[in-house]
Symmetry: C2
Subunit: 230 residues, 2 copies
């Protein structure tokens, strides 16, 4: 049976979980605390990053982007219209451009700061960096998210989904990362109705249910977090 | 005609240049200073990152990894044994894992620090961050590179090339990034003979010649930089 090593509020793990759920793959999910750097985990994944997918044959596939590529390599041809990395060359470039935008740029500028400062640090031992959040990092992330929200609105104003007419990995990546920021109440949805409607569409998908049901122990989500008509 | 927007000592640009040279693609190369964030450049590449490849049809392909994937999508099937992202699923995962290792991890821990502090800052205007190098960042990079060199040696001890029996994108990515560090004399080759021999093999390839001929104005390379039997 396939296994997904992941952490509930790790945005990269959430992207992989959405991809797997959309494709009907139901791995056994194992929680891995990213800051622990456990030796048995590093032995199968020297980079130590999350998520890590182990397929039915025991092949270890590390990292959100590589898992997405692996799923396309192994299942893409049979998915036809539901393929999240389309066959057309220009569309593939656009999906990968936006995947990079959200998995790397948005992560570095917004979701990694907020997940680390507001969530991870509550559970990390002090000697590994746990403790009170760095307010400077949180403020920077809150400023940066506005620019990304605007970019989503700009794209959706001319397209049905982020990368074009159909839903792709780009939408799942953006929504996965935003879902963590949204739990914390840090997405200024009022500033962009177009982006908000796009997110409401994705959030209503069955693949999103498991994410919306999760809670950070001792920390309630923003009021609208699991409201599908927010 | 295809165009590559790149910067001479940008390690990500060097990876794309090696890939294109190995595949016999000869774009017209346009220098783009990464810190300038020129508007006409951002219009075709909103992320502003280098390199940017424009194919014969005018399709803009941004970023080293996406260019590598694009080349495999468009030419992979015809390359047979010279394919740098092999067909086999487990091999694809391994090549992508190491691509991520060098393009993301090595970049963040070593080559970005050194290229920025020692090269870019000499040419950047003060208001954009130019000036004297941050010695703390340089020291950190010099410490980190030793661990990466050890990892290369560890992989090459059991394999012919980084990801397996044949040369792949993984070797080109690692060598491209190391070439910038090597120019600066910051690779402690004496610490790992196995890694050194692997680098000497790659460095002798015709695709590497253009990189070895380049000079940073006003800054000589390490003595052994363009010596193929260093």
């Amino acid at each position: 049976m396939a296994i997904l090593h992941s952490y509930p509020f790790c945005p990269q793990s959430r992207f992989a979980r959405l991809v797997l759920a959309e494709l009907g793959v139901e791995p056994s999910v194992v929680e891995e605390k990213p800051w622990e750097r456990r030796l048995p985990f590093l032995e199968i994944n020297p980079g130590g990053n999350l998520p890590l997918f182990i397929d039915d044959d025991g092949l270890a596939v590390p990292g959100a982007l590589i898992i997405a590529e692996y799923m396309d390599d192994t299942r893409g041809d049979t998915l036809r219209d539901r393929r999240f990395l389309p066959r057309d060359i220009a569309e593939r470039v656009e999906v990968r451009r936006l995947l990079d935008w959200f998995l790397v740029k948005f992560h570095a500028e917004v979701s990694d700061y907020l997940a680390t400062e507001k969530i991870y640090k509550r559970f990390m031992p002090t000697e590994l960096g746990g403790g009170s959040p760095d307010m400077g990092a949180i403020r920077a992330a809150r400023t940066n998210v506005r620019y990304h929200l605007k970019y989503i609105g700009y794209l959706i104003a001319t397209r049905n989904w982020l990368a074009g007419d159909r839903m792709t990995y780009a939408d799942l990546a953006a929504a996965a990362h935003l879902s963590v920021v949204d739990y914390l109440g840090d997405v200024p949805w009022d500033e962009n109705e177009t982006a908000k409607h796009w997110y409401a569409r994705i959030k209503s998908r069955p693949s999103f249910r498991a994410l919306l049901a999760e809670r950070v122990p001792g920390m309630a989500p923003a009021e609208h977090y699991d409201n599908l008509d927010f």
